[in-house]
C-alpha cells in the first residue's frame, strides 16, 4: 500500500470553550474520493480550514504523502499540493477566467507572459479533465456550474494533487451536479485525491470510495462506502436512529386558500424576476416550489410575505390582498392569516442580537395579547417563550440567550415555533432546512406535516429536490420566472423535475409511466 495522500494525526482545535475538533485522525488514500459528512457544527469546516492553513491546530500533525508537513497559511497548503473549492466562490466577478486563474500566481510584474502561459496550461487542463471553460469570458457571465469549474481550474493550475470541495452541489442544478461528479471522477482516474465535504447522503453513497463521519468535533467512523447504507451513516451522524423519509398520509386538500393570478415581480435593479405566474394552494396540502436558486422563487415569497411589491392579483381566503403600497407590508400579511418562515433566517427571520424570547414575538410585536398598557408584557412574552422552546425542543432551552448563539437548526426551530403557533391559514416556508442538521430536519418536517394535517395551506420553497419530493404533495417547478410544470409529488422523480428546473418542458422521456402524462401546466382539477 502506498503512503496516504493525507494523514491527520490527533488534530485538536478549540475556539474558546468550544472544542471544534477533538483528537481527529484520518487517512486519505491517493486516487480516491473521500467523503466527509457530518451535521452543521460537527467540525468539518474547521478541520478543512486547518488543512488549508486558515487555522492553526492546537495539537496534532499533518502528513502529506508520508511527509510531516506544517501548514501555517494557505500559501503553504498550495505548496503542499492542496487546493480548495469553497462553497462561496472566491472569484473576481468582473475579471475574465484567465485573469482569475493567474490571480496571486503571476509569474512576474508584467501580466502578458503569465497570461500566455496560463492560456496554454488551461488548454492542456481542459483536454485532460474535460474542464471546458472559455478563458476570455468574464466571470459574471458564467453559470454557477462554470464558475465552480474555474475554481477547480484555479486549484489545478496551482498543481493541486489534493482537492477539497466544500458542499460543492449546494448551488447547482441536478444536471450541473452530475457534470461536476463526472469531472471529479476523471480527476480521480488521473490520480488526484478528492475530499468531498457534504451533508447530502445521496452524494456520499453514489460518488465516494470512503466516507468519514464527524459528530460534535469527533471522527466517529471511517467506512468503505460500499459497505454502508444511508440509514447507517445518518445514525452515525446524529447518534440515534433517524427517519429519512417523511412519515405522512396522503393529502386531503380542501378549499382554495391562496390564489395567485398573473403575478409579476420586478426587482430593485429593474429586472423582472417573476414573469406572470398562476398558482393555487389549498387547505390541507403542501405545495412545493422546486427550482434552482435565483429563478424567482425568492421574489414570489417576498411578495407574499409583504416585503416586495408585485403586480397581478392574489386572493387569500377569497379576499384580494394589495401587492404594493399601503396595506402590502408584513403586518398586513400577518393580519390576513399568512405566516412566513423566510429563506434567510439570519437576515430576515431573526434579529440575531436579540434574545430568543424577544425573537419569539418578532413580527407579532403589535399583537394585543402581549401588550400591557403602553408597555410590552415582557414577563408574559418570556414565559410563553420558555414554553414554546420546550415544545419545539430548542436547545439550549434558554430564552435569554441571543439568537446568534444558537445553532442553525435551533434558530430555525425558534422561527418555526413563532410562525406555526400563530395558527396561520397559510404558512410560507422558504428553505426550511438550509444549514439545518439531520436530526432537526426530521423534527421540522414533522411539524410542517402536522400543520398540514390540521387543514392549513402550506407553500414550500426549497432548492433541495429531495426535500420537495418527500415533503410536498404537489410540486410546481419555476425556471426563469415562469412555472415550467406542475406534478403530483408521488408521481414524479428527480430526473423529470431536473429537466423542468432547466426549463425543458418536454419530459415524456423520463416521466413515470403511471398516473397519466400530466404535462399541461397549472390547475389540479378542482373538486367540491
Amino acid at each position: 500500500m502506498t503512503a496516504p495522500a493525507i494523514e491527520l494525526k490527533g488534530i485538536s482545535k478549540a475556539f474558546g470553550p468550544v472544542q471544534a475538533n477533538k483528537d481527529i485522525s484520518i487517512s486519505v488514500q491517493p486516487g480516491t474520493i473521500h467523503g466527509i459528512i457530518g451535521e452543521n457544527g460537527a467540525g468539518k469546516s474547521t478541520l478543512m480550514s486547518i488543512l488549508y492553513g486558515f487555522y492553526k491546530a492546537d495539537a496534532g500533525e499533518i502528513f502529506i504523502k508520508g511527509q510531516k508537513t506544517l501548514i501555517p497559511d494557505s500559501q503553504a497548503a498550495i505548496r503542499a499540493g492542496i487546493g480548495m473549492v469553497f462553497q462561496h466562490f472566491k472569484l473576481v466577478e468582473n475579471f475574465t477566467v484567465l485573469e482569475n486563474i493567474i490571480l496571486g500566481a503571476e509569474d512576474g510584474a508584467m501580466l502578458n507572459s503569465s497570461l500566455g502561459n496560463a492560456r496554454k496550461e488551461l488548454k492542456h487542463l481542459a483536454e485532460e479533465y474535460g474542464l471546458n471553460v472559455d478563458p476570455d469570458e468574464v466571470i459574471e457571465n458564467l453559470s454557477v456550474g462554470h464558475q465552480q469549474r474555474v475554481e477547480i481550474l484555479k486549484a489545478l493550475y496551482r498543481k493541486a494533487e489534493i482537492l477539497i470541495l466544500d458542499e460543492p452541489t449546494g448551488v447547482l442544478t441536478p444536471a450541473e451536479a452530475d457534470q461536476l461528479f463526472r469531472i471529479l471522477d476523471r480527476l480521480r482516474e488521473e490520480g488526484k485525491t478528492i475530499i468531498l465535504i457534504t451533508h447530502k447522503l445521496r452524494e456520499i453513497m453514489e460518488y465516494t470510495d470512503t466516507v468519514s463521519v464527524m459528530r460534535r468535533g469527533e471522527m466517529t467512523a471511517t467506512v468503505k462506502t460500499a459497505e454502508t447504507s444511508p440509514e447507517h451513516l445518518a445514525e452515525l451522524m446524529v447518534g440515534r436512529k433517524v427517519l429519512l423519509r417523511v412519515d405522512k398520509k396522503p393529502a386531503e386538500p380542501g378549499a382554495t386558500v391562496l390564489d395567485i393570478k398573473g403575478l409579476r415581480v420586478v426587482d430593485e435593479a429593474g429586472v423582472e424576476r417573476v414573469k406572470g405566474i398562476d398558482l393555487t394552494v389549498r387547505a390541507g396540502e403542501i405545495v412545493g416550489i422546486a427550482g434552482v436558486a435565483g429563478n424567482g422563487q425568492s421574489e414570489l415569497l417576498e411578495v407574499l410575505g409583504g416585503f416586495a411589491d408585485g403586480t397581478g392579483t392574489i386572493t387569500m381566503n377569497g379576499a384580494e390582498i394589495p401587492l404594493s403600497g399601503h396595506g402590502a407590508d408584513g403586518q398586513a400579511r400577518r393580519a390576513a392569516g399568512i405566516s412566513h418562515v423566510p429563506e434567510d433566517r439570519q437576515r430576515e427571520g431573526l434579529i440575531m442580537e436579540f434574545a430568543a424570547w424577544e425573537n419569539t414575538v418578532f413580527g407579532y410585536h403589535h399583537s394585543p395579547e402581549i401588550q400591557n398598557g403602553l408597555l410590552m408584557d415582557n414577563k408574559g412574552i418570556y414565559t410563553e417563550a420558555e414554553a414554546k422552546m420546550q415544545r419545539f425542543d430548542v436547545r439550549p432551552p434558554d430564552p435569554k440567550l441571543a439568537a446568534k448563539n444558537f445553532s442553525g437548526g435551533n434558530q430555525q426551530k425558534i422561527v418555526l415555533a413563532r410562525e406555526i403557533e400563530r395558527n396561520p391559514d397559510l404558512l410560507l416556508i422558504g428553505q426550511p432546512t438550509r444549514g439545518v442538521d439531520i436530526g432537526a430536519i426530521e423534527f421540522i418536517h414533522q411539524q410542517v406535516v402536522n400543520l398540514r394535517d390540521q387543514g392549513k395551506a402550506i407553500l414550500l420553497v426549497s432548492v433541495e429536490l429531495e426535500e420537495i419530493l418527500s415533503l410536498a404533495d404537489r410540486v410546481v417547478v419555476m425556471f426563469d420566472g415562469h412555472i415550467t410544470g406542475e406534478r403530483d409529488a408521488a408521481q414524479t422523480n428527480e430526473k423529470e423535475l431536473g429537466l423542468l428546473m432547466a426549463g425543458i418542458t418536454d419530459t415524456s422521456a423520463v416521466a413515470n409511466g403511471n398516473g397519466g402524462n400530466d404535462t399541461t401546466q397549472q390547475e389540479v382539477p378542482a373538486d367540491g
Binding site: G16, G306, D329, I351, M352, F362, L374, M376, N378, A402
Partner: protein, 364 residues
C-alpha cells in the same frame, strides 16, 4: 455563549480604558512640565470635593445626559445623529420663544412648556435630515452635520435681527421673565446656616435629565416602538420581513433624538443664562457622541459617562484657573478618553475576552 460576563463588559472595560486614558494624559502633562498628580488632585478638588464643584459638574453632566441620550436613541436605529449641536441650538430658540412670549404663572409650568418648545424645535430640526435619509437616501451623517451650520446661522440671524432688545449691543435675547426662573441647586438645597452649591449653575433640569434617562430606558426596552427601533437598527432586512416600516422608524427615531438634544437647552438657556445667547451649547452636542459611545448606548451608561465628562469639563476649568496648564489640554484629555473608550475599545476587549475564556477553561 457570551465571551465574558456582562459586568466585565459594562464596568471593567470602560474602567480599564479610562485608566489607560489617564495614564497617557499624565504623560502629556509631564511632557509640558507639570505634575500630573497635582493636576489630578486639583481637578478632583475643584470638581468633586466641594458642593459648588459638584454644582458645575452636574450642570455640565445635565447637558451631556440629554445629548448622549439623543445620540444613543438614534444609534439604536443605526442612525448616526451628529447634529445634536444644531438641534440643541434650535431647541434653545424654542425655549426662548416659550419663555418670552407665554406669561407663565410659575416655573413648574414654565419648565414643562419650555421642554415642549425645546423638544419640538429640536425634533423639527432633526426631521429634515431624517426625511432626506429615509426617502432619498441622503446620508444622515452629512446632512446632520450640515444642519449644525445652518442652525448656527439661523440662530445668529434671529438673535441679531429679531430677538435682540432695542439698543442692546450683544446678540442675545431679552432676559426671561422672573416667573420662568428655575430653582438652582443652591435654591433647593441650601439652609440658613449651610449654603450649598453656592453660585453653581446646576438646577432642577438635572432631574428632568434623570427622568429623560428613565423615559429612554422604558421606551427602548419596554415598548413596542423601542422594540421596532432596535430591530430596525440591527437588521433592516429583518425589519422589512416583520413589517416594520423603515421610513417611519427612521423618522420617529430621529424625532425622539432631536427632541432630546433640543431639551438640553432647558438647562443652558432657561436654567443658566436665562436668556438666549449665541453658542450656549458649547459643543455639548458633540460630547454627546462620546458619552453615548462610552455609555454603550444604554441610558444608565450614558448617565455615568455624562457625569464623567462633566467632571472633566469642570476639572479642566479648574486646571486652567489655578495652573499654567492651558485649557486646551483638557480637550486633549477628553480626546484621549474618547479615543480609549470608543475608538480603541477592541484593544482592551480582545485580551480581556481571551483572559475570561482562559479562566473559564481552567475552572471547567
Amino acid at each position: 455563549m457570551d465571551k465574558m460576563p456582562k459586568w466585565a463588559d459594562i464596568v471593567l472595560i470602560p474602567l480599564i480604558s479610562l485608566l489607560l486614558a489617564a495614564f497617557f494624559s499624565a504623560l502629556v502633562i509631564l511632557a509640558i512640565g507639570e505634575n500630573p498628580i497635582e493636576a489630578l488632585k486639583l481637578m478632583v478638588d475643584g470638581a468633586l470635593m466641594r458642593s459648588s464643584g459638584w454644582g458645575y459638574t452636574l450642570y455640565y453632566a445635565t447637558n451631556f445626559i440629554f445629548t448622549g441620550l439623543a445620540v444613543s436613541v438614534a444609534f439604536h436605529a443605526r442612525l448616526f445623529n451628529i447634529g445634536g449641536e444644531g438641534q440643541a441650538m434650535l431647541g434653545g430658540l424654542g425655549v426662548a420663544l416659550c419663555c418670552l412670549y407665554v406669561p407663565w404663572p410659575h416655573w413648574s409650568l414654565a419648565i414643562l412648556g419650555a421642554s415642549v418648545g425645546a423638544a419640538l424645535f429640536g425634533a423639527l430640526w432633526a426631521l429634515i435630515p431624517a426625511y432626506l435619509q429615509a426617502k432619498r437616501g441622503s446620508h444622515i451623517v452629512i446632512t446632520t452635520i450640515m444642519f449644525n451650520f445652518i442652525a448656527a446661522a439661523i440662530l445668529n440671524y434671529v438673535l441679531v435681527e429679531l430677538l435682540r432688545p432695542v439698543g442692546a449691543m450683544d446678540p442675545a435675547s431679552a432676559k426671561f421673565p422672573d416667573a420662568t426662573h428655575l430653582p438652582s441647586f443652591q435654591d433647593m438645597f441650601s439652609t440658613e446656616s449651610n449654603k450649598m452649591f453656592r453660585g453653581a449653575p446646576a438646577n432642577v433640569t438635572f432631574f428632568l435629565a434623570l427622568a429623560a434617562s428613565v423615559f429612554v430606558w422604558l421606551l427602548m426596552w419596554r415598548t413596542k416602538l423601542g422594540y421596532q427601533i432596535r430591530a430596525f437598527g440591527h437588521s433592516e432586512s429583518g425589519a422589512l420581513y416583520a413589517g416594520i416600516n423603515p421610513v417611519r422608524i427612521t423618522v420617529i427615531a430621529m424625532l425622539i433624538s432631536g427632541a432630546l438634544a433640543g431639551m438640553m437647552s432647558v438647562n443652558t438657556t432657561m436654567g443658566e443664562s436665562e436668556r438666549l445667547i449665541l453658542n450656549s451649547t458649547e459643543g455639548a452636542g458633540f460630547i454627546g457622541i462620546a458619552v453615548a459611545l462610552m455609555g454603550r448606548n444604554h441610558p444608565f451608561g450614558v448617565l455615568l459617562a455624562a457625569i464623567l465628562f462633566g467632571f472633566l469639563y469642570q476639572g479642566g476649568a479648574e486646571l486652567a484657573l489655578w495652573t499654567s496648564i492651558p485649557r486646551e489640554l483638557i480637550v486633549v484629555i477628553q480626546a484621549l478618553v474618547i479615543l480609549f473608550t470608543g475608538a480603541l475599545d477592541n484593544m482592551v476587549r480582545e485580551p480581556l475576552e481571551k483572559l475570561f475564556i482562559a479562566m473559564r477553561r481552567r475552572n471547567a
